[in-house]
């Protein structure tokens, strides 16, 4: 069982996955943020690999990516920073990013090295199903990584089932068709999550995009196994660069 699967075997409700951008707010804050998230109750962490053209992201994550790139973050630097993480970090760690930097790094080399430092899974939103099936999926599996596909309220049942079948770890339910960080109608989100639940999928479902506080977290996790929060946390880090105090305050607010 992968570390992600172990988490869901133990905890089936209110799983909190927090996203942040590697190298933000400072180049060397990556590990400190990870530790602070674990210490303050995050169940899982998704580390964004900054990219110059993040198509699926709204202004807040775009901005954090720009800052991280200006700070000197690259895939090579990130993997180096994560090298010793498993001596202190027990929560599952997922890398999220876009295809182009990963292709430049070398897709298989990336999978091998990520797995070697203890990364558990990948989210690459612009890696399409066809290319995953015909080319890249095998490399991901070979190195024992989970791969998480996204679905949206517009994704047909047939396609949800196919993407669930290709995913392992969990399925990422985007709360509505949007870029990250936009406002949501939580009632519509709930209806959509109820529908996903009725499909009785292979993977647990985490909902993301627009989860920003305790209310939206509680509402989102009624029908899903948990939620992913990103933009709201990045905003907090932006406002208070002291990683420990801002992370503690943010997660206290989310979880209590």
């Amino acid at each position: 069982m992968s570390r992600i699967q172990q988490l869901f075997a133990r905890k089936k409700e209110n799983v909190l996955n927090v996203y942040y951008t590697a190298g933000f707010p400072a180049l060397d804050s990556t590990l400190r943020v990870l530790e602070a998230l674990q210490a303050n109750g995050a169940d899982m962490v998704e580390i964004g690999m900054p990219y110059s053209d993040p198509l699926a992201d709204g202004p807040v994550i775009q901005q954090s990516s720009q800052v991280a790139l200006a700070n000197g973050m690259t895939i090579a630097v990130l993997l180096e920073q994560l090298k010793e993480m498993r001596s202190r970090i027990q929560v599952p760690v997922i890398l999220m990013g876009y295809m182009n930097p990963v292709l430049q790094y070398g897709f298989e080399k990336f999978c091998a090295e990520a797995a070697a430092v203890g990364v558990d899974g990948l989210i690459l939103p612009d890696l399409p199903e066809y290319e995953f099936v015909t080319e890249y999926g095998e490399m991901v599996r070979k190195h024992g990584l989970d791969f998480i596909f996204l679905v949206t309220p517009e994704t047909s049942e047939k396609r949800v089932r196919r993407l669930d079948g290709l995913s392992s770890g969990f399925l990422y339910a985007v709360s509505s068709s949007s870029t990250t960080g936009s406002e949501k109608n939580m009632e519509a989100v709930d209806a959509y999550l109820q529908r996903l639940k009725s499909y009785d999928l292979k993977n647990p479902v985490l909902v993301g995009f627009g989860i920003k506080d305790k209310n939206s977290f509680v509402s989102a996790t009624k029908a899903a196994n948990g939620a992913i929060v990103g933009t709201a946390y990045i905003k907090t880090l932006e406002e208070n660069n002291d990683v420990n105090s801002s992370t503690a305050a943010f997660l206290k607010n989310m979880l209590e």
């Binding site: 053209d53 182009n100 292709l103 612009d126 994704t155 068709s177 870029t179």
Partner: protein
């Protein structure tokens, strides 16, 4: 059987380039297009309306003009395909007419577009006005400044122009913003991409709409010379739509040299360039695998060209394949060479050409041409929008 250079495979690949590298949020929009574009484009009613609009509204066929003084200067035969004479002043309208008819048949109510030089924005605003559809054009902040006349035209046509303020504030970023808008509007919006870039089916769809350029050229050459085939066709390449249109019906004619001209900016090694095939590597940008200008870490770099329409760090997958397979010859022209070519054409043929098109003309100096050659250059657009740049040049050289 030898495969055609013209067509991608079912997944949208030209050789190793193409595909649809899109986040799931775009899937409904892109899937709808993939499954319907060919069927719609083949409907007799669509074809009829497209042809009528190109004839009566755009003014097609555009003339194929024998450029006498240019021919004499280069000691060869040079023909200009006059896309500058189209309504709105460039080839871009061939594509926007096609896509607006398609959008109508898909029941879309809201149209978005990106634009660099503003020619595609104007062509999109024009067809939206014609059809009474809402139009939002994303344009880099830097391009809004340097292409002010086209911004005013879009406003006059009733479009909303939204400044892209991220990244390099040019065409790449305007495209990002348009794609983000499309993600946020999964059902009612059609995105009219302005070049042969983007996820499948855009490169194929836009190439088909622009292919009227070479379709007409064949007939016009036959009438003028007794042969349908030139020896060389030349076009500038930003994303590559005028080039795709100019090359299309010659791609599978081995005797025709296919010559694409990119923008070298301040020079290939200056760090300020937009010559994608010379400086780029395979990568993914704006939904397709192609050749992309990028750092060793895979971050897309900010290109530079004096011409806003060529200021783009990628190239359509069709062209990436022409480059990689050797079918196409890829040249580049600097800012300075393009400006010089524009003045040369103005003073020898009486035509003020767009800065983008000027790159294609600048390539004439790099070719070995003979009396036996029949060269067709795609004159993709007129230079009205570039008068500020041309005036600056004349001020600098004391001609004003």
């Amino acid at each position: 059987m030898k495969t055609s250079y013209k067509l991608p495979n079912k997944e949208g690949y030209y050789g190793k380039f193409g595909g649809a590298y899109i986040p799931e949020m775009l899937h409904p929009n892109v899937e709808e297009l993939q499954s319907r574009y060919l069927e719609i484009m083949q409907e007799p009613s669509f074809k009829k309306e497209f042809e009528e609009m190109l004839r009566d509204y755009v003014g097609r066929p555009s003339p194929l003009y024998y450029a006498k003084r240019l021919s004499a200067h280069y000691q060869t035969d040079i023909y200009l395909k006059r896309e500058d004479l189209n309504h709105t002043g460039a080839h871009k309208i061939n594509n926007t007419i096609g896509q607006i008819l398609l959008a109508e048949r898909l029941g879309k109510k809201r149209i978005i577009a990106e634009t660099g030089a503003g020619q595609h924005g104007v062509a999109t605003a024009t067809v939206c006005a014609l059809k009474g559809l809402e139009c939002i054009v994303y344009m880099g902040e830097k391009d809004i400044e340097r292409q002010a006349p086209n911004v005013a035209r879009m406003h006059m046509l009733g479009a909303k122009v939204v400044a892209a303020t991220s990244g390099s504030k040019t065409l790449k970023d305007a495209t990002n913003e348009a794609i983000r808008d499309w993600i946020n509007h999964p059902t009612d919006t059609h995105y009219i991409i302005g070049s042969v870039v983007g996820p499948h089916p855009y490169p194929d769809m836009v190439a088909r709409f622009q292919s009227v350029i070479s379709e007409e050229t064949r007939k016009q050459l036959l009438a003028k010379t007794g042969s349908e085939l030139p020896t060389k066709v030349i076009a500038c390449v930003g994303g590559g739509s005028n080039a795709a249109g100019m090359f299309y019906h010659f791609l599978d004619e081995a005797s025709v040299d296919i010559i694409a001209v990119e923008a070298a900016g301040m020079g290939l090694n200056s760090g300020l360039s937009a010559a994608t095939t010379a400086l780029g590597k395979p990568g993914v940008l704006h939904g397709s695998r192609s050749i992309v200008m990028q750092t060793d870490d895979g971050q897309v770099v900010e290109p530079h060209s004096i011409s806003a329409g060529l200021d783009y760090p990628g190239i359509g997958p069709l062209h990436a394949h022409l480059f990689a397979s050797g079918r196409g010859i890829f040249l580049s022209a600097t800012d300075e060479e393009a400006v010089r070519a524009a003045f040369f054409v103005a003073r020898n043929e009486g035509i003020i050409i767009a800065l983008e098109s000027a790159h294609a003309f600048a390539a004439l100096d790099q070719l070995t041409l003979s009396k036996q050659d029949r060269v067709v250059i795609c004159l993709s657009g007129r230079g009205d929008k570039d008068m500020a740049t041309y005036m600056k040049q004349m001020t600098m050289t004391n001609q004003l």
